[in-house]
């Protein structure tokens, strides 16, 4: 846990420095129209960097409770990745799959792998939910969501 704390601190300070560099491309001092566009981002980046540094130093100081535990318990990795990786995959292919088909695939995978449902329930649920969502968003609220190449072709012949 302490190591994660330190690593987090390092990452945060690095992030602040990246933002600081981006802020320095702007006028940070007084301009004809008052404080420049970079004035606030610059000082905020400095503040974030300082606060990050304080957190980092705190994590290196000896702590009263030395209980060392893993940041992510070993048995938790699998359930976490089962949520995360397919999601990243669906987003990566969202232009092809669209949100409805992608969502259906995600449901199939999760229900089978984690829920261990029978195939019948998997197919019914992962078919019905995207269908209901489609009618709510596409038909009722007229919110255009990414439909993907297949659905575009079926619906509009594009």
């Amino acid at each position: 846990m302490r190591k994660a704390e330190t690593a987090g601190g390092v990452l945060l300070v690095l992030f602040a420095l990246v933002m600081l560099r981006e802020a320095l491309r702007l006028p940070i001092g007084w301009t004809v129209s008052g404080p420049g566009a970079g004035f606030v981002p610059f000082w905020l980046s400095v503040g974030v960097a300082v606060a990050g540094a304080v957190i980092l130093i705190q994590s290196l100081l000896p702590a009263p409770s030395a209980a060392e535990e893993a940041f992510i318990p070993a048995q938790a990795w699998k359930p976490l990745l089962v949520v995360f990786l397919p999601m990243a995959a669906v987003i990566a292919f969202i232009n092809v799959l669209g949100i409805y088909l992608g969502g259906a695939l995600y449901l199939v995978g999760y229900m089978r792998l984690v829920g261990r449902f029978r195939w019948l329930s998997v197919v019914v649920v992962s078919g019905l939910i995207p269908l209901v969502l489609f009618f709510i968003f596409e038909k009722w609220f007229l919110l255009p969501l990414p439909k993907g190449v297949f659905l575009e072709r079926i619906l509009y012949g594009r």
Partner: protein, 509 residues
């Protein structure tokens, strides 16, 4: 003055009672209660997910919908806490302490009745306070110039550090990070693009709703799957005997109810804190004042009454600065405030003059929604509790899909899905390392306003920061803010001194 409040209130009740808005409110309550019941789907995230659906509604109906979801979620959280011993919402954690033991002793109906009734009392008294506090507060805020606005905003942000508890360095870090992320996009004063790393997609800025959905929605899912959710519940329904027996007890807790309501409302109004800390503080306070503190944690009705009253009072209070000053009183209120911009409204005191139906429609709907809400949960507990029978294997992917839709629909760009996923991971890591999420979210919403107020103040006085010295109201706020920022350091100092004399006292987080 007083008469005009009644006038406005009647007008607002009229807005809220139109068949359309009444329907919207009831839908919101049912959805909200369901969201409250489901662990892993929080009120803040639930409201963020519904936000895209409000694009097409009139602003008054939209705010009535979201507020009703909030009230429903506050009522609903208690159901899971009491029957399943798992908090449905963060603000109902304290309700598990005595609510579940009471249910286990064969009195689930009593625990639920006590929770709903006291929640309703806390809400109703707070709504009355709200009605009479809001107009004068808005009138006062109308007189504010940029320096005063800046000072109020800084005070709002300082409350996180002063009253949020936890590591002050992390709180300050998250506050500044939120303000910094708000600068991405373009400069509000000069219109110049900035901080976008040359990415066109970032030019419209970091979308607040996307971040909120990631941090609160996905982050929560990650935490839930890590812990592995087991739901084993007690069957609960409320009969007339439960009502009668519990209501007979309530007058005994009059002092607790009054204390919890005032505490909750006040905590809610303070921007740094919402229903969650209010419920914990109220529980601790009730235990301290009780003649039988040893009964707490073993099924004491007062231990259910105190946190529930305060949580709902705080939920109401959190909307007071939101509607009068444009400053959210809690993360959930911050999400609603983000909606104001989507509906084309400018948050702030002017709303009272320009959008009477919006402001008073919201206030009127609070009365109506909470009366309907309490009747709904009292009668339909078994129905709502059965929502928890939805297997997690379906619920988790469903929340993930809904989150993606919500994140995409706000701006129609795929980049937002990646930002959501990134914020989800960040939310999970931040939660595990005890970084508070609320200051990040609220600061992100307030960033533009704060920067604008600061720069306008500096321009007004040619860059001389001494401007604030000549503005007494601004000075008072700034001094208070400074005191709040220093508060954790002062507390540590005193605790160390006391620790040398006696054993360290236990601190209630």
């Amino acid at each position: 003055m007083l008469l005009s409040v009644f006038d406005d209130l009647l007008f607002g009740l009229g807005v809220a009672l139109t068949p359309y808005n009444l329907t919207v409110g009831i839908i919101g309550l049912v959805l909200g209660t369901a969201i409250g019941v489901l662990p892993g789907l929080g009120g803040t995230n639930g409201i963020a997910l519904l936000l895209p659906l409000t694009f097409k509604l009139q602003p008054a109906s939209a705010i009535i919908l979201l507020a009703s979801v909030y009230w429903g979620a506050i009522f609903g959280g208690a159901i899971t806490s009491i029957l399943f011993n798992i908090p449905g919402e963060p603000w109902s954690v304290a309700t598990t302490f005595d609510g579940h033991p009471l249910a286990k002793q064969g009195k689930p109906g009593m625990a639920l009745t006590a929770a709903f009734s006291s929640s309703f009392i806390g809400a109703f008294v707070s709504i009355v306070l709200f009605t009479f506090f809001a107009p004068p507060l808005a009138e006062l805020a109308l007189k504010f110039g940029p320096p005063e606005n800046f000072a109020v905003l800084i005070l709002a942000l300082a409350t996180f550090t002063g009253l949020g508890g936890g590591n002050p360095a992390k709180t300050i870090f998250m506050t500044l990070l939120g303000l910094l992320l708000a600068t991405v996009g373009f400069d509000i004063v000069s219109g110049q693009p900035r901080m976008n790393f040359g990415q066109v997609a970032l030019q419209s800025g970091v979308n607040f709703i996307v971040i909120a959905i990631g941090l609160f929605g996905l982050g929560e899912i990650f935490l839930t799957v890590e812990e592995g959710l087991r739901l084993e519940g007690i069957k609960g329904r409320i009969g007339f005997r439960d009502l009668w027996e519990t209501w007979k007890l309530l007058p005994r807790y009059f002092a607790t109810l009054v204390r919890a309501t005032i505490l909750g409302f006040w905590i809610g109004v303070l921007p740094g804190t919402g229903a969650t800390p209010a419920s914990f503080m109220s529980y601790g306070l009730a235990k301290q004042f009780s003649k039988h503190p040893e009964r707490f944690g073993k099924g004491e009705v007062e231990g259910v009454v105190a946190p529930e009253t305060a949580a709902h009072a705080a939920g109401i209070g959190a909307l007071l600065p939101m509607i009068t000053l444009g400053i959210p009183g809690s993360p959930t209120a911050a999400v609603m405030l983000a909606g104001f911009f989507i509906w084309g409204l400018n948050p702030g005191p002017l709303l009272f003059a320009t959008n009477r139906d919006f402001v008073w429609g919201l206030i009127g709907s609070m009365y109506i929604a909470n009366v309907i809400g309490v009747l709904l949960v009292l009668t339909l507990v078994p129905v709502f509790a059965s929502i928890n029978r939805i297997p997690f294997g379906i619920l988790a992917p469903l929340i993930v899909i809904m989150s993606s839709i919500g994140a995409y629909a706000t701006n129609n760009q795929v980049l937002d899905l990646w930002i959501m996923l990134g914020s989800g991971v960040a939310g999970y890591v931040f939660k595990k390392l005890d970084y508070p999420l609320a200051p990040l979210v609220v600061a992100l919403v307030l960033g533009d306003m704060t920067e604008q107020a600061l720069r306008q103040s500096l321009i007004m006085f040619q860059g001389n920061p001494a401007v604030f010295l000549g503005r007494p109201i601004a000075m008072i706020f700034l001094v208070a803010a400074l005191a709040l920022f220093a508060l954790p350091a002062i507390q540590t100092f005193y605790r160390r001194r006391r620790a040398r004399i006696s054993q360290p006292a236990e601190v209630i987080g």
